[in-house]
């Protein structure tokens, strides 16, 4: 009997529990309807129909994932603690670290399945739109780039999920975890804007100032999600970044997830269950 099997067992029940939640089923239905609305959304655009449709569909996927994270994932560990299910789970021969990993695995799989479904529908919708238009309005639709962009969303949201696991280990209660997660997301979204603004206002001599380095250091903690945003490549025959850059971005994201989860495991292992 090894740790992977225990993590898998816990991940499985987290996954099954999520699959049966009415709220998540509602989220999936709502997202699918919103993606179908993409067929109407394209009517507003006279030229770059493919691009607008692609942006819309990926944005729906992003928002669906955020809703899942902010309204389900932030509460999972808190629910277990508040309703006492944590005792039933941790009375088994599962360590605290395995518990955190199991919850993460179950939620990550739920998120993956959500995006797989929405991504498949989005791909079909874009194909339908492309076939209904003249080539001028939708000249290029690259499937490998579509998959890369889809994978970018999945990995970015796994990063957020790892942060949620960390916050769940730090504080008790779903609401504080939600507040921390929203603050984290806000900083991650705003920090690149601040960095761009600061670099525009600094002269070349000042570009190596302490402020620049400080903001760069902050980005190691609050990652820039736009580095895995490949939406603009979907309608291009060429990638906007080199393969090596893409590999580095995914690698950094993967390491970030691993670091956050390991830290979360350590935090949770020290905690008394109230």
């Amino acid at each position: 009997m090894n740790a992977m099997q225990r993590i898998k067992a816990l991940g499985r029940i987290m996954f099954i529990d999520g699959m049966r939640r009415h709220a998540l089923i509602g989220l999936v239905i709502l997202s699918l309807l919103a993606e179908a609305f993409g067929l109407l959304f394209m009517d507003f655009f006279g030229h770059d129909v493919g691009r607008a449709s692609s942006d819309f569909l990926f944005s729906i996927m992003w928002m669906a994932g955020l809703l899942f994270l902010f309204f389900h994932a932030v509460q999972v560990i808190a629910w277990d603690e508040e309703n006492g299910a944590i005792y039933a789970l941790l009375s088994r021969p599962i360590s605290r670290a395995e518990y955190v990993l199991g919850v993460f695995a179950g939620l990550a799989l739920l998120l993956f399945c959500l995006h797989l479904l929405l991504g498949t529908v989005a791909y079909g919708t874009l194909l339908l739109i492309k076939q209904s238009l003249r080539e001028t309005y939708f000249p290029v639709f690259s499937m490998p780039h579509f998959v890369l962009t889809w994978l970018g969303i999945v990995v970015m949201q796994w990063v957020l999920l790892a942060a949620i696991m960390l916050f769940s280990g730090m504080v008790r209660g779903g609401f504080p975890v939600l507040l921390l997660t929203m603050a984290y997301y806000g900083i991650c979204s705003g920090l690149p804007v601040v960095r761009a603004s600061v670099s525009q206002h600094l002269s070349p001599e000042q570009s190596s100032s302490g402020l620049t380095y400080f903001l760069q250091a902050l980005t190691t903690v609050f990652p820039d999600f736009s580095r895995l945003d490949f939406k603009d490549s979907v309608l291009s025959s060429q990638l906007l970044f080199s393969n090596w850059h893409i590999a580095v971005y995914f690698g950094v994201a993967g390491l970030y997830i691993a670091l956050a989860i390991v830290f979360a495991c350590q935090l949770y292992a020290r905690r008394d269950l109230q």
């Binding site: 507003f44 770059d48 942006d55 819309f56 969303i153 945003d229």
Partner: protein
């Protein structure tokens, strides 16, 4: 009053008031509200492209729904800000540039330049397209009457893949209109030398002949200037010392002299 009567009565009052509100709203002047600051919009992160598309729809709906009598100056600044925000968020969306060209560039010189600044963003992010720099060149020519800049822009544009062949010709025309007759002539000769289509090449050669006549007049002006250290006050002063006669140009061209510049104007181009 019983509860049974209260609800239908309240509902009736609500519906009447609502209908009245709708009538009042339709009479109201439709305004375009300013776009939020770009820095704030950029914090939308992954959704910033969608934000740009929402702003586009907002601008398009406003333009489609406004009273045609609305003075453009009343909304041009806000509209330009919308386009600035859109290009900051999603510079690759082509529709932004089409809409800005159609709604902003004609309002006045200030907004033509704003439109060109917006289009310049499109030129950076969609360098494969000829239509965006064509819009810039058109604005420079038609609204700003800056013929030399227009000529340069259209010349570069004509070299892009898929660009129509008449762009180069228009560039030469505008160069001559701007006083750069020799530049226009050189460009026409270059196009004629590389043109495979015999009909088009013949057309170029006809135009080249007219340009060469104008170039001959230019040469005479230059000689006059060398001798008298000043340009001639009128073209007829060149005759007969520097030129036998002022040529009459064909193909709709005419010479326009505002000392010291000689322009070659095509009548329908202006």
């Amino acid at each position: 009053m019983s509860l049974r009567l209260t609800f239908p009565l309240l509902l009736a009052v609500y519906l009447v008031l609502f209908a009245y509100q709708e009538t009042v709203k339709q009479q109201e002047h439709v305004e375009l509200q300013p776009a939020p600051p770009v820095a704030l919009l950029k914090t939308a992160g992954y959704l910033k492209q969608l934000g740009a598309e929402m702003l586009y729809i907002k601008a398009a709906v406003f333009l489609g729904g406004r009273d045609p009598e609305t003075p453009p100056d009343s909304y041009a600044a806000v509209l330009a800000n919308h386009f600035d925000a859109m290009t900051a968020l999603h510079p690759r969306l082509l529709d932004i540039y089409y809409l800005s060209e159609s709604s902003l560039s004609w309002i006045g010189a200030q907004y033509t330049q704003r439109a060109n600044a917006i289009l310049a963003q499109g030129g950076i992010y969609r360098p494969e397209l000829w239509v965006i720099p064509f819009f810039i060149g058109f604005n420079q020519f038609y609204y700003l009457h800056n013929f030399n800049d227009a000529s340069r822009t259209l010349r570069t544009t004509s070299l892009k893949e898929g660009a129509p062949v008449w762009l180069g010709h228009l560039s030469a025309l505008l160069a001559a209109r701007g006083g750069n007759i020799l530049g226009g002539l050189a460009w026409l000769r270059a196009m004629a030398a590389t043109e495979d289509d015999a009909t088009v090449r013949t057309r170029y050669e006809i135009e080249i002949k007219e340009f060469e006549k104008a170039a001959h007049v230019l040469s005479a002006i230059s000689s006059y200037q060398q001798k008298y250290s000043r340009p001639p006050a009128e073209l007829k002063n060149l005759v007969p010392e520097f030129i036998d006669a002022i040529p009459i140009l064909g193909e709709g061209y005419e010479l326009d002299y505002e000392a010291p510049e000689l322009y070659m104007r095509k009548k329908h181009v202006g």
